[in-house]
């Protein structure tokens, strides 16, 4: 039962509950008009304590396409937060007006605090470098729609595997399904954290391969998940520039890949995917953004108990 629940951590929902959301999302994709009024008279509050145009638009578009309406703020200076109001007080007040809330906050754990004090469902839309569960739902729905399954897949992760929260969440989420294997392509400085590697190795059926170059492994992959090296994670500009240009997916490398492989990216990209790849039918990253909206529509409907 998803009605009234919060989504704070990407592992909050069981595989069965995720399946419910994906089934609804697929139904919405097929017949959007059947769902265009189900949220009439419902209000979504978007509490964005730090700017994030992409995620906020995705949630707002999702609610509007369900026939609902949206209130909120897109940066804290324009709200009571600038007067020093606590997260707990803000969510309690917002709960008097809205039916469901989405919160993005620079501090890790802030959405959990909101959920603990809230009478309405709270969705975490990103808390610092910690969690971004709706991106994980987006990634899973994209893979499921393209590959028709979430098990028995070989998924390559490339770039910043150390700080990339979307990578950590997706690896954990995919490790819950059977017979998936992971190929990790990253420089030594940006390898996945030890705790995560340890966690994966404890699951006997998970196979992990580490590689240095995309071209060494790309022909074996079902999915290639590219990530951006984030400038804000580096103290030294030189290190950033050196690592930023280390992995660039271009047309030549795509020629080596299987014809059914798909390329994902949580966006925004910097230069890790050449623009020439955009024309390749295997480039799924903009479709992925669209799946993100559909999965958020399904999530909102489920948490409100409307479908």
């Amino acid at each position: 039962m998803l009605k009234g629940r919060h989504l704070i951590d990407s592992m909050d929902f069981s595989i069965g509950e995720l399946e419910e959301i994906f089934t609804l999302a697929e139904s919405i994709i097929k017949n959007p008009s059947n769902y265009s009024k189900i949220c009439e008279s419902k209000l979504l509050a978007t509490l964005f304590y730090e700017p994030s145009t992409r995620t906020r638009f995705s949630f707002e578009a999702a609610m509007l396409r369900l026939g609902g309406q949206v209130i909120g703020f897109s940066e804290p200076n324009s709200s009571s937060v600038s007067k020093g109001e606590s997260v707990a007080d803000t969510i309690k007040t917002v709960g008097c007006y809205a039916d469901i809330a989405v919160i993005r906050h620079p501090k890790e754990g802030a959405p959990r605090v909101a959920a603990m004090h809230s009478d309405i469902p709270v969705i975490n839309a990103g808390d610092g470098g910690h969690q971004h569960p709706t991106q994980t739902l987006t990634d899973l729905l994209t893979i499921k729609s393209a590959k028709k399954r979430l098990s028995g897949l070989k998924i390559g992760f490339c770039g910043d595997l150390k700080f990339g929260r979307t990578v950590h969440s997706l690896i954990k989420a995919m490790s819950r399904y059977e017979n998936n294997s992971f190929v990790l392509i990253s420089p030594d400085e940006l390898k996945i954290p030890d705790y995560l590697k340890k966690e994966l190795q404890q699951k006997s059926d998970i196979k992990i391969i580490e590689a240095n170059k995309i071209e060494e492994v790309v022909d074996t992959l079902d999915v290639l998940y590219m990530t951006r090296v984030q400038k804000e994670r580096f103290f030294n500009e030189e290190d950033y520039i050196r690592l930023r240009d280390r992995y660039i997916l271009d047309g030549e490398k795509m020629k080596l890949a299987h014809k059914d492989m798909i390329v994902l990216h949580p966006l925004p990209r910097v230069n890790e995917i050449s623009y020439e790849v955009d024309e390749d039918p295997r480039a799924y990253y903009f479709k992925q953004a669209k799946y993100g909206m559909f999965v958020r529509m399904a999530l909102i409907a489920k948490l409100l108990g409307l479908s």
Partner: protein, 143 residues
């Protein structure tokens, strides 16, 4: 040799790692009580070399949970009529509230001061605790 009388009724916390006695004394707020208490430091121990001991006369109603965090190897003896009637075995608590403070500057507890600092035990063998909010891991041995 320093002599402290045995107690008739009360508690003896024995085999405290030397140097940890004062911390336990403070956590149990024994400086605020009006009954007899004794903190013995650096006593000779055949088991651990040097140890601290706390003796509390005429009181047995304490929450010892937090002591497990400070030193899970202590022995707690409940004394009634000069006989040990019960031994309390300490374990690492599953959940601790407002004992450990999260040091992650990105954690929400660094700005929202009204929130209790809550930690959950992740691994009993390594003594690792995880912050409820930001998932930062703390090892007891590092604290």
């Amino acid at each position: 040799m320093l002599t402290i009388n045995s107690i008739k009724n009360g508690i003896v916390i024995d085999h405290i790692k030397a140097g940890m006695g004062m911390k336990m004394f403070n956590h149990l707020r024994l400086d605020k009580v009006d009954y007899t208490v004794a903190l013995i430091m650096n006593a000779v121990s055949s088991k651990i070399g040097k140890k601290d001991i706390i003796k509390i006369e005429n009181a047995i109603d304490f929450d010892f949970t937090v002591l497990g965090l400070l030193d899970p190897n202590v022995t707690i003896n409940i004394i009634e009529n000069e006989i040990i009637t019960r031994k309390v075995k300490l374990e690492l608590p599953e959940k601790v509230e407002n004992v450990i403070r999260c040091k992650n500057p990105r954690c929400v507890t660094s700005v929202e001061r009204y929130i209790p600092n809550v930690f959950y035990l992740v691994d009993e063998n390594t003594g690792e605790y995880r912050c409820q909010y930001c998932d930062e891991i703390y090892k007891l041995s590092d604290m």
